[in-house]
């Protein structure tokens, strides 16, 4: 009972609260509190995720598993960024310390002008942005090696892709001022019709799945027991 019925009961209760609140405005105040609970639980889930990352990598280092040296980089990055935003501010508040600075930067806190913010801008941002930047090169190699036009469907896909790619950049207009107009038409008519069908289909599927959870029919999120 405790393993399955209560979680499902909670899901049904919370779910209908959200739906009821939309159709019956008088249920207004209650809804916000329930949503507040969801916000806190999601945050707890993130802390759980980070704890999991620490656990896995600490194990990797202690057992000298493959690539354990790299896990040290991970742990150092995690501990520095985590410490600056959680432990240090608590200690600083508890001790009511003055301005703890490292050079011109404030050690405590995460907003502009802090060490945390500088590490974010000069280490996290470039790493993340360049990771995505690699995709430009991969897309080029994929275009050359994994884009085989072997059917009418693939030909239509290729034609639409080429017209859109040329029409969306100034060069398209240079070649012939009709190309950008053709691109606008493709984007606003045939492409839109197919995307709208997908939207409607996804909405029906999503509503049905949501309703099954609200009616306690859908239990998969618990996994079979």
């Amino acid at each position: 009972m405790l393993r399955r019925e209560i979680p499902i009961f909670l899901a049904v209760m919370v779910g209908w609260f959200m739906v009821g609140e939309f159709f019956f405005p008088w249920a207004e105040p209650g809804g916000t509190e329930v949503q507040q609970m969801a916000v806190i639980i999601t945050a707890a889930g993130v802390i759980l995720g980070v704890a999991n990352v620490i656990r896995i990598n600490l194990l990797k280092v202690s057992r000298r598993q493959k690539d354990w040296q790299y896990s040290i980089f991970l742990l150092v990055g995690l501990i520095v960024m985590g410490f600056l935003g959680t432990v240090l501010p608590i200690v600083h508040a508890a001790v009511k310390g003055g301005a703890w600075t490292l050079g011109s930067l404030n050690l405590v806190g995460i907003t502009d002008g802090t060490v945390f913010d500088r590490l974010y801008n000069r280490i996290y941002v470039p790493l993340s942005a360049t990771m995505y930047g690699l995709l430009a090169f991969y897309i080029a190699s994929a275009a050359f090696r994994a884009f085989r036009v072997r059917s009418t469907e693939a030909a239509l896909l290729a034609a639409a892709a080429i017209i859109v790619m040329i029409g969306r950049v100034p060069l398209g207009e240079k070649i012939w001022d009709g190309i950008p107009l053709l691109t606008d038409w493709i984007m606003n008519v045939p492409q839109l019709a197919a995307k709208r069908a997908i939207l409607i289909g996804a909405a029906l599927g999503g509503i049905a799945t949501g309703l099954k959870i609200l009616l306690g029919i859908e239990r998969n999120f618990l996994g079979s027991d």
């Binding site: 941002v125 993340s128 090169f137 080029a140 050359f144 060069l171």
Partner: protein, 283 residues
């Protein structure tokens, strides 16, 4: 091995070099191309142009470093346009890594129009909860953001205290326009689904080029009054507000790179089929 077979088996690092050249050459040689305005970008521009001094917009800056390249030019252009029209901004983000980016954008543009924090613009920071937070914001901003990004109580910020023609800004409905800069989930789609219709908000969105095609149905149905798609959208908007920035500069490199990709697709297929036919003829 015939020439075409050697091409087909080309080491992909040559393709990387080709792309590197296509992207770098126009940047270094300063080629500048005029940008044509698409209908949905004009809708974005006109929605802000229709605002008056003193109006308040809610800025949902939902992106992180991964989307900085496409969306930061849009955000800077939007802030420039809004501040120039003396429109006040309540900004926040649903992406954990989004707050510092919004803060930096504010710090870049606000001084140019000597706008002061708390009076002309506010940064509420990040809140986890995705769709939950959106619906809550429609009902009570203070419930979601008890304090702003810097830990100050909302009521001690003049904009939040009396920004809605004299009385406090309580909920999304108290703002004139929802401006959303979006890289993924949660983003434009969720704002349209959860907030646009439910709280009758006028909404415009700037999004990564990847998700732009999916949002065209929302433009045609009127749920989105304007849409900027990727760097091309940023360039169009920059040109419309007469402030050409990185968007316009990047367009020449974007153009040459697109041509390279198109050629790669065509050559890739030509070589593939040529070898198949040659191979079939020989065996």
């Amino acid at each position: 091995m015939s020439l075409t077979q050697r091409i087909e088996a080309l080491d992909r690092r040559w393709i990387f070099l080709l792309m590197l050249f296509s992207m770098s050459f126009p940047l270094i040689v300063h080629i500048r191309l005029p940008v044509r305005t698409s209908p949905e970008a004009r809708g974005f521009y006109e929605s802000i142009e229709a605002l008056h001094a003193g109006d308040v917009v809610y800025l949902a800056s939902d992106y992180d470093p991964g989307g900085k390249a496409e969306l930061e030019p849009m955000l800077l252009a939007v802030l420039d346009h809004l501040f120039r029209k003396d429109v006040k901004i309540v900004g926040a983000t649903l992406w954990p890594a989004g707050s510092p980016l919004l803060e930096r954008a504010y710090k870049t543009v606000a001084p140019k129009y000597n706008k002061t924090y708390g009076v002309d613009y506010v940064h509420l920071g990040f809140k986890e909860g995705k769709e939950n937070v959106m619906v809550q914001l429609g009902k009570s901003i203070r419930e979601v953001f008890p304090v702003d990004y810097y830990g100050t109580k909302l009521d001690s910020l003049p904009l939040m205290h009396s920004g809605f023609n004299g009385n406090p800004i309580d909920k999304l409905g108290d703002t004139k326009l929802l401006v959303n800069i979006s890289i993924g989930y949660p983003g434009t789609k969720e704002w349209v689904q959860q907030v646009r219709g439910r709280f009758q908000m006028k909404m415009i969105s700037g999004c990564a080029a990847v998700s732009a095609p999916e949002y065209f149905p929302y433009v045609q149905s009127g749920q989105l009054s304007g849409l900027l798609g990727g760097l091309a959208g940023a360039a169009e908007y920059e040109q419309l507000i007469g402030r050409p920035g990185w968007g316009v500069t990047g367009m020449a490199a974007q153009s040459l790179s697109h041509v390279t990709i198109v050629l790669l697709i065509l050559v890739g297929n030509f070589v593939y089929f040529w070898n198949r036919r040659k191979g079939a003829a020989r065996s």
